[in-house]
Amino acid sequence: MEVNLSSFRRISLSRKTRLIASLLILFLAWEAIAVFVEVFRNVPFPTPLETFTRLVDLITGEPLYGIPIYKHLVDSVSRWILGFGLAVAVGIPLGILLGYSTAMWDLFMPIIYVIQTIPGPAWIAVALMLFGLGNAPAVFMIFIVVFHAVVITTASGARGISRRYVNAAKMLGADSATIFFKVFLPAATLPIVSGLRIGLGNGWRVMVAAEMIAGTASGLGYSIIESRWSLDFTSAFVCMLLVSAFGLLTQRVIFAKIERRIMRRVGLMEVS
């Protein structure tokens, strides 16, 4: 274990350099495109430097569409967490049920697939009729998207992964309650966590789209779409930057850490 860990750290040093190089390429390309657009289209295109300057202005208190940038961020994150939380609360139990029982799978999975084919923002009509303008329709759209991701990943994963463990348990003479709680559920941990990961990412992306159309009057998505009228594209770039940075932080850093901990706990290794 110790050996693995230290070799991992050693590798990660050179990989860290490459990560920095990768970001550098991104910003250089951005700068190049900005220059190109300014020269050939004669349109002011926010450069990385302008964007960061604007970011600092906004962070130090300049309001964006009448609201501090913090509030936009906090509102976005709250909608995301609320939609995600509700979807997980319903989606995981349902996914487990569908993964456990073939009859339930046959009955409900087609419905989930129908829902899955419709992209989040396309639910706008339903969302507006159900909830009117504001927060709730955005949360609803996030909910729908996370919901089907969680159900499908949990159910299909649990079905596949658990079969061999369930078979082994049957052979060892276990009763059905023991099989469900001591074997099926732990075996389903891996797909559940994958479902959470996919749902988290999908939910974050649809959150931005939902705020553009649901009339939330705050949030990162809302601030981006408002630039169509205000022509404050630099602020829109700041918001894109925040969407990306916060998305990466929550999914690739925080959730990845939690995920690794859970996997170690269950003794399962990540498959992909």
């Binding site: 078979n167 348990a169 049957k170 060892l172 009763d175 075996a187 003794g267 399962l268």
Partner: protein
Amino acid sequence: MFLEVQNVTKVFRSSENEKPIVAVKDLSLSVPRGEFLCILGPIGCGKSTLLNMIAGFERPTKGRILLEGKPITGPGPDRVMVFQEETLFPWMTVLENIRFGLRFKGLSEEETEEEARRYLSLVGLEKFGDFRPHELSGGMKRKAELARALALNPKLLLMDEPLSSIDAISKMSLLQEILSIWEKSRKTIVYVTHNIDEALFLADRIIVLTARPAQVKREVVIHNPKPRDLLGSEMIDLKRQLIEELAQSHALEEHVLTPG
């Protein structure tokens, strides 16, 4: 007869694939109590399907399987299988894995613990009881799986290519282990493999299957005492014959797979 497989046919019908797959066709064999039977067959011929039916996970499409005269209706602890893939529960320690099956045998707490430890040391894993499966080597995992199976004291032990993913050196010691366990317990064992050496080393009798659909192609009884020297002339002769039989099965398979 202890175990009887009578004219068993197994057909798989998958909904997407229109053509049904005949995995096993009109196969009969019987196993007396205490025999170590090895079933040799080419890859994909239906060996696992046969074992799955004996274990009770699959039902024959035609024919029947009797254990001590009673038809098999489902999986149960009297016929324990060591699967081709790993099935130790990764979220339990090795000892917890072994205890898992014992809990359903109505033993007391102490008896369960005692039995679990006994079988753990039988396979030489005394020191690894508190390890998780992912902390063990491939060979140790196989041993743990074997211990979990043996601890249930089944009437019949089914082994589906238990050593196919094991390196050659660990394989030798595991083979010896399996042999000594069989000698101590005199359990009836049905051992499926496509490795001729394993079969020659372990078997009282070898049944060679044809390519899919599996049918009995040849039967060889080996009287030589165990442990056997696989480099002795008699064994080498036998091996040559078996290689030929298997090669024929393979050729047959290729012929079937590429019609016209």
